[in-house]
């Protein structure tokens, strides 16, 4: 799962994210959000393409039976509403595969529908992001790539040791408005959004940290700080 890159003799690791979205605009945005968060990104426009890249498409039952080397990814982030194969279908396919089920899958949706969220989490999604996706959402994602981030010294800002915060998924983390990250040295990731209607997400773009450092996530109730975002990290 860890990808090691050698650059000028320096060995560094980058988490590799596979992003799936049928919207051209959203693909551009998610790609940039991920790259600016120091991720390697592969973006595709459909679930089928994602499965093909991974080596999990209909043509093959297992990727070990032939020489095909599928894409190695540390996280998959997919839109829910897509023509053909939905994000939910993709999630099921990935979780149904012995080879790929360990890869964390995050669902994005423009609609904040609780039964939908529950269904995805029950099917094994690691998290559910209500669009539009913000920088703080992506920062939260990096916590799920614990295997990769554990060994990364500087990039993850030291919060990678969590191992994903244990097996239990807190469905309510979406509505949390507190975060450990914002009080750490990493740059604040909150956008100074000015109207409540600007976002359909229940939280105001803060991200809870699932690392073991945090007690039950709701315990931290810091007010959202509207801080100037310094240039990209």
């Amino acid at each position: 799962m860890n990808r090691v890159m050698e650059r000028d003799g320096v060995v560094s690791e980058q988490v590799h994210v596979l992003a799936v979205d049928d919207s051209l605009v959203d693909r551009k945005v998610i790609e940039r959000l991920l790259k600016i968060s120091a991720c390697k990104v592969t973006v595709v426009d459909s679930g089928i393409s994602a499965l093909q890249l991974l080596g999990l498409d209909e043509q093959r039952t297992t990727s070990e039976s032939d020489d095909f080397v599928g894409l190695k990814v540390d996280l998959i982030i997919t839109d829910y509403c897509m023509p053909g194969m939905t994000g939910y279908d993709l999630l099921k396919k990935i979780k149904g595969s012995s080879t790929f089920r360990e890869i964390p899958v995050v669902i994005m949706s423009s609609e904040n529908i609780l039964p939908r969220i529950d269904r995805c989490l029950e099917e094994g999604a690691k998290d559910f992001i209500v669009k539009p996706v913000k920088l703080s959402d992506v920062k939260r994602l990096k916590n799920y790539m614990s295997t990769a981030t554990r060994e990364v010294s500087a990039a993850a800002g030291g919060f990678g040791g969590g191992g994903g915060g244990g097996g239990g998924i807190n469905k309510r983390k979406l509505s949390d408005t507190s975060t450990v990250d914002d009080m750490s040295s990493s740059p604040p990731s909150i956008s100074p959004s000015i109207t409540p209607s600007s976002s359909s997400s229940p939280s105001d773009s803060s991200s809870p940290s699932p690392s073991p450092l945090s007690s039950p996530i709701r315990a931290l109730d810091s007010p959202i700080r509207r801080l100037k975002m310094s240039s990209a990290d």
Binding site: L24, P192, A232
Partner: protein, 154 residues
């Protein structure tokens, strides 16, 4: 006009776009994704949006012109437009789409036609506004200045 004046003009103009609801916080998110390595990111994303919306609006016009209106298809198009407008922070367009989808659900052709007209107008308006904004930015850069960092507390 000197740089300081242009920057103040830019700030005032940007503020007005937020106050009048043309843009919301997501637009600021996009600006945060722009840096020296990606100096045209916002313009690129916004251009993609207008390419996308142009096609969607055409498709919607055709779809609503049919003898037998396929509301599912229309809803799918509006959903897409709502999503992409939301992703760039084009708030008024997004809000139009929300209303539009409600009328799709009611299968109300007349109301849908009105919504289509309205969403076309809003797309046009925000396009003009953003083009003005980008032009101001270009002028500032050309004069050797830099774009002020947006900080909003309202």
């Amino acid at each position: 006009m000197e740089v300081g004046q242009m920057q103040r003009q830019w700030l005032d103009y940007t503020r007005s776009l937020f106050i009048e609801g043309f843009l919301d916080g997501q637009f600021l998110q996009l600006e945060q994704l722009q840096d020296d390595n990606n100096p045209d990111f916002v313009v690129e994303v916004v251009s993609l949006f207008f390419q996308d919306s142009h096609k969607l609006l055409n498709d919607l016009t055709i779809a609503l012109d049919q003898k037998s209106v396929d509301f599912k298809k229309i809803d799918a198009h509006v959903h897409q437009l709502k999503g992409s407008s939301s992703s760039i922070g084009a708030q008024r367009v997004k809000n139009c789409c929300i209303a539009f989808r409600n009328f799709c659900e009611e299968q109300n052709t007349d109301a849908c036609l009105k919504c289509l007209h309205q969403v076309k107008q809003e797309c046009c308006l925000v396009k003009n506004k953003l083009e003005t904004l980008f032009r101001l930015e270009q002028q500032i850069m050309a004069a050797g200045g830099s774009i002020p960092m947006m900080e909003l507390s309202f």
